[in-house]
Symmetry: C2
Subunit: 372 residues, 2 copies
């Protein structure tokens, strides 16, 4: 966060900053989605919707699970939310009592813990091992589980490692959690952004997990603040009441815009962008290891590479700060994602800017690493 | 809630339902606001904004306080939020620890308590007295305050009574709260919808209160989900961090649309609508007392009348249910707004539909009350 502010300050002062720290792709929102938003405005569709979202959008989401992912999901299991943030708040609110423990992957997305503590829950680490490629395994889950554990969270594809856990493996972990009286929450907000293997969902392999998702990443709808969750149908009335109380409803125009996300043209644009991201990823993965920056984790999804920088420093935060000051290349230190297994050895690179900028970043990085 | 669902079911079955229970005016979102949304789409303004909102919108809100209400508010005191709901969550999150007590007006808006319990706070009633016209007085506040009280909430104009408390009086209450080590939160989401007196804000008379507000009611932007809060500047960095963690940011298109709300043309439309609401209110206030339905509370703001129905029933819930079944007129029983001072004597009428429908409602109501 301090580095992000510093990068913005340097930019404001006229420096050319290469933003490899930003978790928001550089693509504009796709034209069919924007057109759907315009149509909603022309029709005056700006009044409240039901708390769980427009029935037509819940159906479209369920249909997309079937058509594109081969998963059987009922519209009655889907709750549309103000961003994945809203989905996280609802799920934690529905599942947690004060003192309940929630297992969070370390490394992992740092904001998740906020939704645990919001309900008096206690975040506990699931320390992922470098030797497992920072993947969640059944024995890591078992070792961390206590009698106070109610929820475990995992993301696939993952931030910061880009790890993609196959759906069948996640479904097994979900059954393990259920057998212990808890719930696995799978963050699939980067679903669709997979490289080398088709997108998958834990929901294709069972109905024990709760899933959160978002229109932000794959569909490029960040500023619209729209997400969803999929939960066992029996839980939905309670979740709907919480949504009614806390949010009233998600944004109406955003919901009408999102209806177009699953259309043929939008999906073709999303696929094109996935291919562009894959090219960026390949470009970086070919260059970085030769610079003494091996990629750890799978890098099979999202738009992140988790890099081992220990050949150059024993303090990746200091490395990032110095790199930013000297070269204008902004990266995110491992400390932002966890505390276990030596985060000071790692940093995250987000390939959210175009190839020419990535080439420029690689050159500056190379010159920095080769400086006398 | 049960009555709302029943009204919707009857409507779906083909009955002509007169919705005097809905807290959403029937006006469409004003054209200049819609045009601003279109321009934002044309410019591709759909990416994340800062967590506290676009700086230009924070400035526009502060300027509107000065120009239209004569209050001195710095943009740095303003945090733009996903609806007033988001503002409530932020304020309660910033002020409450588990076990802290929050005083809520009874009768009052029922969802407020959800944001208290969200943080382990304990909602306590501020029982407003019929003999005070259901207004909050200094001695009611003093009598309810305990050493565990951290926050008191009051709305002006108020739901369900339409009471408008003058800003100077609220500022005195805010100082009383501050002197006791607590904070007065003033819900001004109906600000601007005032009849017989100009709109006011507690912020014109001091800086001790925290204010929440919304673009939903006066500016007719319900489905856009956009609100704001005004807090002492020293609190804003902490509130901003909570907003970053919980919401990331409010909807970007909604924020650009809202920039047009304070323009001359939008304000003229809002004023026109206020006058229309005032005509509806006058029409009802002339007819209802003669039908044995006296208006209690001030009815000087918002779009609600709180009616004493005790001449006809000792159970306003049963009255509302029977009235709905027999006549299709939907109203809200007093029980939805509180538990003290005999809510079963009262019901709320929302004049959110046009005059011809109100005439029709009055006729059905008259026939119902005069039935043998």
């Amino acid at each position: 966060m301090a580095l992000l502010e510093r990068a913005q300050a340097l930019e404001a002062a006229g420096h050319d900053i290469l933003h490899l720290e930003v978790g928001e792709p550089d693509f504009p929102c796709a034209a069919p989605i924007m057109d759907a938003a315009r149509r909603a405005l022309d029709r005056g569709q700006t009044r409240y919707t039901p708390a769980a979202g427009l029935p037509a959008l819940r159906e479209a989401i369920a249909r997309d699970y079937r058509d594109r992912l081969g998963a059987s999901v009922s519209p009655a299991q889907v709750v549309v939310t103000p961003g994945a943030s809203g989905a996280l708040q609802l799920i934690m609110g529905a599942l947690l009592n004060a003192g309940d423990e929630v297992l969070l992957c370390d490394p992992g997305y740092p904001c998740n813990r906020q939704f645990v503590t919001l309900f008096g829950g206690v975040p506990r680490p699931l320390p992922l091992r470098p030797e497992d490629g920072f993947r969640l395994t059944a024995d890591t889950l078992e070792a961390a589980w206590t009698e106070r554990t109610r929820v475990a969270m995992v993301a696939s594809p993952d931030n910061p490692t880009g790890n993609r856990t196959d759906g069948a493996g996640l479904a097994r972990l979900a059954r393990d959690c259920r057998a212990r009286g808890g719930t696995l929450v799978v963050d699939e907000i980067y679903q669709g952004l997979c490289y080398g293997a088709p997108a998958d969902t834990v929901l294709r392999h069972g109905d024990e997990a709760v899933v959160i998702n978002s229109f932000s990443k794959y569909f490029g709808m960040t500023g619209w603040r729209l997400g969803w969750l999929v939960a066992p149908q029996a839980w939905v009335p309670a979740i709907e009441r919480l949504a009614q109380n806390w949010f009233l409803a998600p944004s109406t125009v955003a919901q009408h815009a999102a209806m177009a996300a699953f259309g043929e043209e939008s999906l073709a644009i999303a696929e094109q962008r996935r291919q562009l991201l894959d090219r960026r990823r390949t470009l970086l993965m070919e260059a970085l290891p030769g610079m003494g920056l091996p990629v750890v984790g799978g890098a099979e999804g999202a738009f992140y590479l988790y890099l081992d920088v220990s050949a150059h420093t024993d303090d990746s935060f200091a490395f990032c700060r110095d790199l930013l000051e000297r070269t204008g290349v902004a990266l995110t230190p491992g400390l932002d994602f966890g505390a276990h297994h030596h985060p000071e050895r790692y940093l995250r690179l987000a390939y959210t800017c175009e190839e020419s900028r990535l080439h420029e970043a690689l050159e500056r990085l190379r010159a920095y690493l080769e400086r006398p």
